[in-house]
Subunit: 219 residues, 4 copies
């Protein structure tokens, strides 16, 4: 029994080490350029051992993504819960998103890289679905908040999913651009300002009522 549990513990330990190292290496080199020798060496296991835990390089990659992705949505839900009204909730979600990615820059890079066609090509459809569902979940949280805002009159009527998507896109795009443009090291203060401005710009746009002039009956 003790033997069994010790063995289990060792396995868990190995799995964790591998995932962590893979994370670093994928971040540093990207999926294609990353090589399993580095990962094995970094994790302190033999190259063959990797295959005891993961079926392939792509499989390991997905595992890395999933590893930290689960808590992401949960945290985002918490962030929303702390907000008072819809506007506040959207701001908090955006804030969390920004804070999270700037604090976990590497992860961001990895997530993005997955969208790159090369990686997707090597993944099974299931794997792709597994990862993308993480994003959908996040989008849903944001869309819910927006929907709330619309229902309570804080936002002008709109398609919440669509607007959530736009929000999302802006956030990702800004972080990504800055991430790549700044030689892969965020200048946080600059990004912070841009990000704030963008959020406010969007919020302004969402709040505006499309002017309903006293249009004549024929309009």
């Amino acid at each position: 029994m003790s033997d069994v549990s010790r063995r289990e513990a060792k396995k868990a330990f190995h799995r964790r080490r591998i995932l962590e190292t893979a994370h670093d290496v994928f971040f540093r080199d990207g999926f294609v350029e990353a090589n399993l020798d580095d990962i094995a060496k970094g994790a302190g296991v033999a190259k063959g051992t990797l295959y005891r835990y993961f079926d392939s390089k792509a499989d390991l990659y997905v595992a890395v993504l999933a590893h930290g992705g689960d808590i992401f949505a949960e945290r985002m839900r918490e962030a929303r819960a702390e907000g008072d009204d819809a506007v506040d909730q959207v701001r908090r979600i955006a804030r969390f998103y920004f804070e999270h990615w700037t604090a976990n820059e590497e992860y961001f890079a990895i997530f993005w890289a997955m969208e790159n066609q090369q990686v997707i090509g090597e993944l099974t459809p299931e794997a792709v679905k597994q990862v993308t569902s993480l994003w959908s979940e996040c989008l849903r949280i944001l869309a819910d908040a927006i929907q709330d805002g619309v229902e309570h009159g804080s936002f002008a009527p709109c398609d919440p999913w669509e607007v959530a998507n736009i929000f999302w896109t802006v956030a990702n795009g800004l972080i990504r651009t800055e991430h790549l443009g700044a030689q892969r090291r965020l200048r946080r203060s600059r990004l912070d300002r841009i990000f704030q401005d963008a959020v406010e710009l969007l919020l302004r746009g969402m709040t505006v009522r499309t002017p309903e002039p006293d249009s004549g009956p024929g309009a």
Copy 2:
């Protein structure tokens, strides 16, 4: 004379064929996975011939980007010129951008791929600069239009570059997301709607709204 010109014509033909094939292959496989055998075979030339036209794989890649990139900014400038006021100009720029990329989907993928760190790693700084300057140029056109709008009171005071950047990011992000999410074949109608909405959302956010606290009863 005829001899020389015929030879020239043949060279031009080859160059064109190579670029076109490279374009397709880079689009299909991405930079890293693309292989020169495919390109050579597709272009109907020997592998060695590629090297008479381009110094390296990376060089060819840059050439593909530059091939169509030059006219891009020019067209965008034209699109702006056709607009009446700043708002109209921004709309037209956005429209052009959207039309162009949906009509040249592959190019979009290639441009984006370049921002991937692996590709950049293999390019000379000059090459990178050559390509990225295309984007800066486009950003400048948009920022100019916004600046105009601010000066003429169409837009609320803002940092034109920053707002242009946000616009840009939204546009790229939406196309990109749709591009990848939809199994790499845009559902144009859906994207069109989202894109329009996003532009209007942003324009609304940018538009001056004289605070009318005591606005009429209908507000």
Copy 3:
């Protein structure tokens, strides 16, 4: 234990096979023209396996040189030790040198090839040093013997290093010329005679001759 040692033995076997085959191939084709396919095939391993043992073609080349080079100086030292006086020692060194190279003709070719600029160009400075130091060591042994002879009056005063160098040059040159001139297969008897004569010629030149101006009538 048995497992580990058997694996070790196999590795040693592979390494040996690779070195031996590389030796033959480098001898047959020279460094530049030799190709790793041949070596791998000859050694009965896959091409990739070569890289588990040696970092590069150049590295393998150096290993081939070093493989047999170490014992060379040692043997030469022994040869010297067997001599009675300085003259005898020099003769024995020369003899050993001759015997060794004619018995290991291929090695000779490889050593010489290394001095060719192309090969050196691909080696790291350390590698070059590693190999050339072998030669210096040999030169030192010879120079020591000569120095001894000078001190004991067997040889006329001279710069031992310089004379050792001359000896060396003659020896190498003769073997080399014969080696190449005779379609790469030494006619040993002929070379033996020339070599002997050359050694005696040099020894005669080195030998002290007290100027005997009034030498007897027979001079």
Copy 4:
């Protein structure tokens, strides 16, 4: 007629340019690494044109060797003629040899490179013979001088060819070693001294009469 001669002149000019450039390039890069693009460009002709003048790379190489080699033997003959007695003649030949190669270092490298097995492998036996005959011719001149010396009692009895060969070997070896060792730029003063010493050492050895002691009848 004028046309014909002008054409002839042009051909001669091209041939000369090609040879000169090939000379430089072969010196700089060695036979294997030299490439015809460089030679063609340097000579100001098209690559294809090279093949109007020479059948192959190897052929061009041999032509380069022969180009300057003819005058070499002639000059050496003159050098000998200026000497008074055999010893003087040998000294003058050696001197000339030394002066010539240190003044035409590049040529030396090329000649030596030819002895490299790779080059020989690509040459026709005729070509090899053509080049090696140059060396034989030079050896003959030296052997003749030695023969003279033996006949006139200046030198101890010996096989003139053999001794000439030794002389030759020493000379080549010293220049070569210095040439390669000194990063391909001769330290002339040092080499000069060594060379002188070597020549005198050999001359001393050649002059010595093997002592014929009053050996007893049984010896």
